[in-house]
Symmetry: C2
Amino acid sequence: MSALSKLDVPALRALHAELSHELELQQANQLALDLTRGKPAPDQLDLSAGLDAAIAGDYFAADGTDTRNYGALSGLPEAKALGAELMGVAAEDVICWGNSSLTLMHICVELALSRGLWGDERRWSRAQPAKMLTPVPGYDRHFTLTQAAGIEMINVPMTDTGPDMQAAINLAAADEAIKGIWCVPKYANPTGCTYSAECVEQLAELPKLAAADDFLVLWDNAYAVHDFSFPSTPLTPILPAARQLGTQDNVVIFASTSKITYPSGGLGFVASGATVLRHITERLGNASIGPDKVNQLRHARFLSGRLEQHMAAHAELIRPKFDLVQATLSEELEALDIARWTTPAGGYFVSLDTRPGLAKRVGELAASAGLKITKPGATFPYGSDPNDSNLRIAPTFADMADLKVAMQVLTLCIKLASVEKQLETSIS
Amino acid sequence: MSALSKLDVPALRALHAELSHELELQQANQLALDLTRGKPAPDQLDLSAGLDAAIAGDYFAADGTDTRNYGALSGLPEAKALGAELMGVAAEDVICWGNSSLTLMHICVELALSRGLWGDERRWSRAQPAKMLTPVPGYDRHFTLTQAAGIEMINVPMTDTGPDMQAAINLAAADEAIKGIWCVPKYANPTGCTYSAECVEQLAELPKLAAADDFLVLWDNAYAVHDFSFPSTPLTPILPAARQLGTQDNVVIFASTSKITYPSGGLGFVASGATVLRHITERLGNASIGPDKVNQLRHARFLSGRLEQHMAAHAELIRPKFDLVQATLSEELEALDIARWTTPAGGYFVSLDTRPGLAKRVGELAASAGLKITKPGATFPYGSDPNDSNLRIAPTFADMADLKVAMQVLTLCIKLASVEKQLETSIS
């Protein structure tokens, strides 16, 4: 098959008829498939079966803390050490609190707005409204959280090596209402790219280049150890770079065990400079007597010394699914030259761009055949993809058989939408 | 011994010398005792050893939910049922989220301030500043949370049957900036009183009598099942009363398993009318993909059908400690007529009032002998007890031997402070 753009109208009509017929056949199958969910499959959850046996009647942390009782607001030392391993920082840079890095991000953003993170007069609420840079495509929950906080979002394009830093620097330098940037630095959601060393260095410096004096790099390292093969290409740690530049209190790092053990049943971590940690801890203390230290101890014991081995076992289960996605995309779309997609070395997603103006149509066609895909637009702030072309593929939760059918249906819908559009353009 | 007030100066001097000598002896013992901590002792924590075995490889909730994965933002059905049992409401009135009722209170107060709980224009931030009624003596963490939120606190006296309702009604009716009232309705912290049925009815009606149209009764039922004997005198449930009056969306109930299983290692609950629940759930969804459902399942399995039995076992361990406190107070202080204290039938505290102006001095004397007591003033907003007379006694964490010594030292300090003061008054 040659590139779609080279086909004449009769050939396009024939292809349209063929693809429409294929879709009808799939519709008749009454499928119920789902590629929306960036969550582990049950076989991945089974890898953490040993968690439940980690306490075995001994509830005492290494420092003698009885984890069953109140205390340790900022977390157990061994849980902080686990967070430090995940985030590439020292244990004293870490707070381990709650079950969710998203909750910690929310606390950080609300605190930055209301009372500031620094114990001085700086707070984002001085700007009306405060604004945030959002590399796109990105993570929808960052966008929802930011919007709910009343913060305006300004898009910055993602590249293969991280956000377009020249664009980010120009924007941040020109407007003191711009208070931060959201980053998923390793295996970014949804592109799967890992920020280059140069990009990390530039982000560590960004708070000094920004017009705002309270600029934050929000560093959501959700996929810190979620590699498909080991050893992986490492992410340059941002906190040491920030310390060299004096921006450690303008960088806040988040991580969790959500896709290491159990989503929602694990631990949330935040790391930053000492001033920010102190003010986050104080804020936590207004609303909490302490985190669930039993679960912290459980996780520390289960993962300590075997994190890479555990993540390698995840990779064994996930990698074939990502390989299948890549194989199907190449086989079905490459020759037609109608889409671009990413080939991540880890994480939970593949990002695909159709030709402009087709993503919503692909979503409609897929739904007609019983395939749910992440709502087109969701990878952009306000649900609005200016090109209507980005699709996020989340292949982990489906089993291989379902994933195979789902990818057939998805690529079929992309082909059909592309042919429809080209026919329309060719005729008019 | 006759009442202290009847003693003449020579008798007072003799008593002062005797008590001072006793204190010197205690000081020489280099004690390290602590009556500050409203937390379970290790033998109480041991009662929940079965929690850790409750999963036993079966992570699936009754409705088929895999508790290891994302989802169920407002909690598992069986966890909601447990909360409903604790709070005297229906399971559909309950959200089970997080490990802490304090965190849920903070979320509720911040939401009431910023966006309101009702999806309309009502929000406490319309008042500058918003104010809250605080029955005193009360729980210091309510006060800290309220102060941190920028809300002004107005004291209402506690009686043996709950807050002085006439005072509460008069205040709330006269000032639309008064947005709510903090309540610990059963075994109140620190008095240990349980609100009467009449008081509960009046509190359910208070939002209608208040000048504010967004008045909240914040009902912290922290000691809902923490009785010393069974069957206990029940607390009248407020939500049914509120429903009859149409105030169910002005009553927010909180509870947790903190003093049932493990403090910080358990479950938090919130209950209210459907409108409030919807807006709290929406707020939770901005910052959370869901609570730790594994721990919810663990708790529901462990406590279901045996909550009363479990709490009776707690009572067996706690009751002797409270009996010892009462016996020591009676023996050491009654004849002298120098203090009033409460005799709770459950909960974690005894409240004691010295003569006016002595509480801080008692704290100093106790500290000099190595006994920590809850900082005098802590049971009042802003740490300020206008009479400087209230002391909170928390006898659960100490073992019986330590508690016995601690109570001897405490009563000694109360006697000494009282004699000092009376001598000073008699001489001048």
